[in-house]
């Protein structure tokens, strides 16, 4: 501008001087001194007009240019103002923390976010990059600085990075940092501005989801997720399937997606179960079924599967989750078990039948023998030897008969269908029993202390109950001690529908240390008595167990034996 001005002035001076000199020369040559004043006047006038016009032209041109220039400035100013306002608004509105790093001076300024998000007070915040780098998580700092410097040296186009940044309270937050560079004319980075976004929540959620996902991917149970519904009354299409499902079904993941679970069922799949599942899906209720499915190689396998409805935040059904487990092995075992039980039941039945037949076939001729012996009784025999033989014959037959009767009893007891309960009066039962062994009671005169308190009646099997008491009584008499009078204590109490019966004697006792396991066994004899068959306690135990009760024994040699019996007093 100044240059232009001096240019114009120089041009003006030169032009004026040139005109003045030309005028002077012309005057000197062509005019006389007479006209001199007049001419000089004219010349001055012309000069003034000429220079005036020239000035006007130059000034108006300048004026125009200036006003244009001013307009431009004004516009730029407004733009800057607006941009500043925008920046302020954005900086306020953003949750990001903005930093501004003057690289040559290594000076960083942080916006308010450094306090509101990371908890640092203004005086705690360092103003150089060192402070920044020091607050990086040690595991992230190297990776982060490598990426950052390669960006500053402009080896990379863009820069954004995730790292953990330490807060004032020494906890770390996950952040996403994005920045851009400002360069000077030589293209050297002089300034970098960035925004740090706190992504801790996202990161934690991400980690949580990753963890939850491992359930889906790692579990041995097959899991599929289906759509909420299907429009053609089908089981909805699968949208996800976990690896366990692909392993179980033999299909690839891509082959599974978009199919209805029905596609994996086939001719042996129970249609009733499918119907059950369908109706549960229609009713939006949970459902669990067991069904045969088919692998890709068409082999069958049993699956226990559940369908659970999943609702979204709006309480609308969004998906179904189905957890499935291959239970082929279980089913196989179950089948084998059923087969085994069937066989065992049949075997048992056969054996029982066999024992009845055997018993019958033994008893038939034996009953003939008894009948024949009965007939002989009425015939008088004179031959003494024959008489003796017949007596022996009779005793043996009688013994054989008794044994077979006992065995028959055992068989019938084991056939527990024959247990019928009835209400019996305890006093009547004992009177009955004492009558049956009145001869023995007369002979040995035991002192029997019977105490049944307020238990008057028992609901039980009369025959068994009598047989049990009778067996215990005759045992007590049989195994009494010769050194002392026989005492028998019988106590009956009732607690919670259970009758507890204690039967105590002061007899010779049993060596339980040696015989604990055999005491209630079949054909176990513990004393060398001729009329002992080793059946009594076995019968007692069988009978009481057939009635749902139990028996236990305590005994001390030469002190006595105590039996404790429980009966269910069923009504």
């Amino acid at each position: 501008m100044k240059n232009k001005t001096s240019q114009i002035i120089i041009i003006y001076i030169l032009t004026s001087l040139f005109i003045a000199i030309i005028s002077f020369k012309l005057l000197k040559n062509f005019t006389s001194y007479i006209d001199c004043y007049f001419f000089s006047f004219i010349k001055d006038l012309l000069f003034i007009i000429l220079t005036g016009l020239i000035f006007r032209f130059i000034l108006s041109k300048n004026d125009k240019r200036n006003s244009l220039f001013f307009e431009d400035l004004k516009k730029i100013n407004e733009k800057i103002k607006e941009s500043n306002e925008k920046y302020d608004i954005v900086a306020k509105a953003t949750s990001d923390t903005i930093w501004d790093w003057k690289i040559p001076e290594d000076h960083i300024t942080w916006n308010k976010g450094i306090k509101s998000i990371y908890g640092y007070n203004q005086n705690q915040v360092g103003n150089n990059s060192k402070w920044w780098f020091n607050n990086l998580h040690p595991e992230d700092s190297i990776k982060m600085s490598i990426k950052l410097y390669s960006f500053i040296e402009q080896k990379t186009e863009k820069w954004q990075d995730e790292y953990r940044f330490k807060c004032a309270d020494n906890t770390y937050k996950y952040v996403l940092d994005r920045g851009f560079l400002l360069k000077d004319k030589d293209g050297k980075a002089i300034r970098m501005i960035g925004a740090i976004q706190d992504i801790t929540k996202q990161k934690e959620e991400e980690n949580r989801l990753k963890l939850l996902e491992t359930v889906f991917t790692e579990t041995k149970d097959s899991i599929i997720i289906t759509e909420a519904g299907s429009n053609e009354n089908q089981i909805p299409k699968i949208v996800f399937a976990n690896p366990a499902y692909t392993i179980m079904s033999g299909y690839d993941h891509a082959e599974i997606i978009g199919k209805s679970p029905v596609a994996f069922m086939g001719k042996n799949s129970d249609t009733q179960q499918i119907e059950k599942l369908l109706s549960a899906i229609n009713n939006k209720t949970e459902c669990s079924i067991e069904i045969i499915c088919y692998k890709k190689d068409h082999s069958e396998y049993w699956v226990r599967l559940s369908f659970i409805p999943v609702y979204n935040l709006e309480q609308e059904l969004s998906h179904w989750i189905s957890i499935q487990r291959d239970i082929s092995e279980e089913k196989k075992l179950e089948k084998e078990k059923e087969q085994l039980i069937r066989e065992l039941t049949q075997n048992n039945k056969d054996l029982k039948q066999f024992s009845y037949i055997t018993s019958h076939n033994l008893r038939a001729p034996l009953s003939n023998l008894t009948g024949l012996l009965n007939l002989i009784e009425d015939i008088s025999i004179d031959d003494d030897e024959l008489k003796e033989i017949l007596t022996g014959f009779k005793i043996s037959t009688h013994l054989l008969n008794e044994t077979i009767d006992d065995l028959a009893k055992v068989i019938t007891i084991k056939d527990s269908h024959s247990v019928h309960n009835e209400e019996i009066f305890i006093s009547t039962v004992f009177k009955n029993i004492f009558n049956q062994i009145s001869f023995q009671l007369e002979t040995f005169k035991p002192e029997i202390n019977l105490n049944f308190g307020n238990v008057v009646k028992i609901n039980t099997n009369k025959i068994y109950f009598e047989s049990i008491i009778l067996n215990l009584l005759t045992n007590a008499i049989k195994y009494r001690s010769e050194d002392r009078k026989l005492h028998i204590d019988i106590f009956i109490v009732e607690t919670y529908n259970t009758i507890l019966l204690t039967f105590k004697d002061n007899g010779i006792g049993i060596d339980l240390d040696r015989n604990k396991d055999k005491i209630f066994g079949l054909y176990q004899r513990f004393h060398n008595y001729t009329d002992s068959k080793g059946l009594g306690l076995y019968l007692v135990k069988s009978q009481i167990e057939a009635m749902g009760g139990s028996i236990s024994i305590e005994s001390e040699i030469n002190k006595g034996t105590t039996f404790t019996l429980t009966f269910k007093n069923q009504l």
């Binding site: 019958h360 008893r363 001729p365």
Partner: protein, 135 residues
């Protein structure tokens, strides 16, 4: 004393025992025997045909029946005997006399109305006295 009874048993000794005991207590004047159910049915068939000839013929008043017999057992006999074919005889009472201990057998016998008792072998005079009071 009864006039006629029928004993059905395949065991000759058992039959002998029945006969001897019956005679002993004068339980019946006459005793007919059959070795199995089929023979017994034949006996009743012959009774039927002679009766149609209007000759007066006495029916057995009581039957002693064994259960386990070859050819036709006691149960099968009872099933046939219950049919209309033998309706002339359905007032005859039956005593099952058996060595069985199978509780199902006793239960089963209750289903036949003509069976009035189920007695264990061997037959004894006491049993016959008891039956006398029952008939």
């Amino acid at each position: 004393m009864l006039d006629l009874i029928l004993c059905i048993d395949d065991d000759p000794i058992a039959l002998m025992l029945i006969k001897k005991n019956i005679r002993k207590v004068n339980f019946s004047k006459e005793i007919v025997t059959a070795q199995n159910g089929e023979e017994a049915l034949d006996f009743f068939k012959s009774l039927n045909s002679t009766q149609s000839n209007s000759t007066i013929n006495i029916q057995p008043q009581l039957i002693f029946l064994d259960l386990n017999m070859p050819v036709m057992g006691g149960w099968e006999f009872l099933d046939y005997f219950n049919n209309d074919e033998y309706s002339n005889f359905n007032n005859i009472k039956v005593i099952v006399l058996s060595s069985t201990i199978d509780p199902d057998d006793i239960e089963k016998s209750k289903a036949y109305p003509m069976v009035i008792d189920f007695l264990p072998k061997p037959i004894t005079t006491e049993m016959l006295f008891y039956l006398k009071t029952k008939i």
